[in-house]
């Protein structure tokens, strides 16, 4: 599948990601924040597609946008937000936050300047057709141990959730 108007879509999707990111932290209404977050995640999925990583893009949509964000919204709706909405959004840590942001920005600039040599400009080879297969091979081959550890952790989380919820049943 040949991408069309690559540059336009790159800047469009990146811009969308950034703008939604800003909206996520500035909106007073948590549902609006969640909505912005969803748009951000979808834009990211688009970026993955442009990187010839359709499987990651699909998983991004199905897990983050379709699964986790639904649970976010679920919790937001169930918890009473009347009080938290009236509170100050930006608390006293904004100085630290600003410092962290500046530090991160400087880091990015340094990486961009110095890293030009490390990451030479070239067009990625489209390995799209075997992409999914390669991910599978990687996960169940090279990174088998890490994969299983992660799944074990998730299993613990599931059992913990069941135990906690069981009290109510």
């Amino acid at each position: 599948m040949q991408p069309v108007a690559t540059t336009f879509f790159f800047y469009f999707l990146s811009g969308l990601t950034l703008v939604s990111g800003v909206f996520v932290i500035t909106r007073k209404n948590p549902v609006h924040s969640a909505l912005a977050l969803i748009f951000g995640l979808l834009a990211q999925a688009g970026l993955y597609l442009m990187l010839y990583a359709p499987f990651v893009a699909g998983v991004q949509i199905i897990l983050y946008a379709g699964g986790i964000m639904v649970l976010f919204l679920f919790v937001i709706m169930l918890v009473n937000l009347e009080r938290s909405r009236r509170e100050e959004q930006f608390n006293n840590q904004w100085v630290i936050g600003l410092l962290a942001a500046v530090a991160l920005g400087v880091l990015f600039v340094i990486v961009y300047v110095k890293g030009k040599a490390l990451f030479p400009y070239r067009i990625a080879q489209p390995i799209e057709n075997s992409n999914t297969q390669q991910i599978g091979v990687m996960l169940y081959g090279q990174y088998m141990f890490a994969f299983e550890i992660a799944s074990l952790l998730l299993l613990v989380a599931i059992i913990g959730a069941v135990v906690m919820a069981k009290k109510r049943i």
Partner: protein, 426 residues
């Protein structure tokens, strides 16, 4: 420019894969228009079929046999006063139906109506479909929350829990079908050659795998494919919030569930989204288990003659519909009051007959066959939806969860494991 347009015609792939923006746009327009028309037709058919289940006549007034009813409804809904509740969150209230609509229509990007009749062929096609169709739950949740009213909120809570739960069972069934693309199988189910040992997630690839293995996945590893299909067929009804799983909009309990506060155009967008989603999930089922666009018995009844016989079906179907319409014309009351309706019905029959005749022309016949079989299979599912609605009472919420988590999910996992084991053993 003209070359750019014509160059695609000689290729034998989808416009998306060929990278032809013009034809991709044309296909998108055709699919979008086609689905909208199909939703309207489905609206009429559902009311008519449901009415006949229930010894009623259904719409009879607007046009002959109520044929123009969907158009009248559409006009009514569009011209209705648009109400937004005073304390609603206006932005979210406004965007929720759009999310549902976009999610349901975006799915059609990868639906293969034929080997080249798809907008594009993503190599993660089925994953994309599941992912995008799962986005519609966001719209429902937002609609319920933004209405700022209790019934929609409960409807939204119900639907988010329901759709997330059934997605899991649905995923299991889908994975077992995807697994089958890479497995040969022996004996009566799954003879054939051609699989490289690597499966595919592409919608077109899945259908072609069924062709290569000479079996619909419905019958592969019998009864495993059948059970997986059954799980999907149940879960897809729950996913689309249709009876008997229509709890999010349970009329007798929650008035109208998440869209209680919606009216007019916005409400019609919900309906459009719902019906489009119904067609979309049916398309997934057809693609995964019923051989997609292939005609019945492409391997058993081969040869020129059979090809010809089956290629006549689209035309014959339309001619049959035309005959029904013309019989309807004869049975119309012979009273001046009904003259316009009679002429209308006769005209409708004539149009159907004309389409039928066009479909007999060889070049058209060959191009249209795939689409016809695909649509016919999807149509069967649409009828099932209506049938369920006429027959079943509604599940209660805890029972719904029980069915999803305690019945469908374990069976789904079992089928998945058995499929893998059988595929390796055989």
């Amino acid at each position: 420019m003209l070359d750019y347009i014509t160059s695609y015609l000689s290729s034998n792939t989808t416009p998306g894969q060929a990278g032809n923006v013009f034809w991709a746009f044309v296909y998108i327009m055709i699919v979008f228009g086609g689905i909208s028309v199909a939703v309207m037709a489905m609206n009429w058919l559902e009311r008519k079929a449901l009415a006949h289940f229930q010894i009623r006549l259904g719409p009879m007034r607007v046009g002959p046999h109520g044929l123009l009813q969907p158009i009248a409804d559409a006009i009514k809904l569009m011209t209705k006063e648009d109400i937004i509740p005073a304390e609603a969150d206006k932005f979210v209230f406004w965007i929720a139906p759009l999310i549902i609509l976009c999610a349901s229509f975006a799915v059609y990007i990868v639906v293969p109506f034929g080997p080249t009749h798809a907008i594009t062929d993503l190599n993660i096609g089925i994953l994309f479909m599941l992912g995008v169709s799962s986005l519609s739950v966001l719209g429902i949740v937002m609609a319920g929350w933004a209405s700022n009213s209790h019934y929609p909120l409960i409807g939204a809570l119900r639907s988010s829990a329901q759709m997330v739960s059934y997605e899991v069972a649905m995923g299991m069934a889908v994975v077992s079908a995807v697994l089958m693309t890479s497995l040969h199988g022996l004996g009566p189910y799954g003879v054939g050659v051609g699989t490289s040992g690597t499966g595919t997630l592409s919608m077109i690839g899945i259908v072609q795998a069924q062709q290569e293995q000479h079996v619909w996945f419905l019958f592969k590893f019998f009864p495993l494919g059948f059970i997986a299909f059954g799980i999907f067929a149940i879960a897809m009804v729950a996913e689309t919030n249709r009876a008997p799983f229509d709890l999010p909009e349970a009329e007798s309990e929650l008035t109208a569930g998440f869209h209680t506060e919606y009216s007019g155009l916005r409400w019609s967008l919900f309906m459009l989204g719902e019906y489009a989603a119904m067609i979309a999930v049916s398309s997934i089922a057809v693609t995964l288990w019923l051989g997609g666009w292939y005609r019945p018995f492409p391997n058993a009844l081969t040869g020129e003659t059979w090809d010809l016989v089956f290629s006549l079906f689209p035309g014959l179907t339309f001619l049959g519909l035309a005959v029904i319409a013309l019989v309807g014309v004869r049975r119309m009351p012979k009273h001046p009051y009904f003259r316009v309706q009679t002429i209308g019905l006769a005209g409708f029959g004539a149009v159907l007959a004309f389409i039928g005749l066009i479909l007999f022309v060889p070049p058209v016949r060959d191009r249209i066959q795939d689409i016809f079989w695909f649509v016919a299979k999807v149509g069967g599912f649409m009828y099932l939806y209506i049938w369920y609605r006429a027959t079943f009472p509604r599940y209660r919420f805890d029972q719904l969860m029980k069915v999803g988590w305690k019945v469908l999910l374990p069976i789904g996992i079992g089928v998945l494991i058995l499929t893998a084991v059988l595929g390796v053993v055989l």
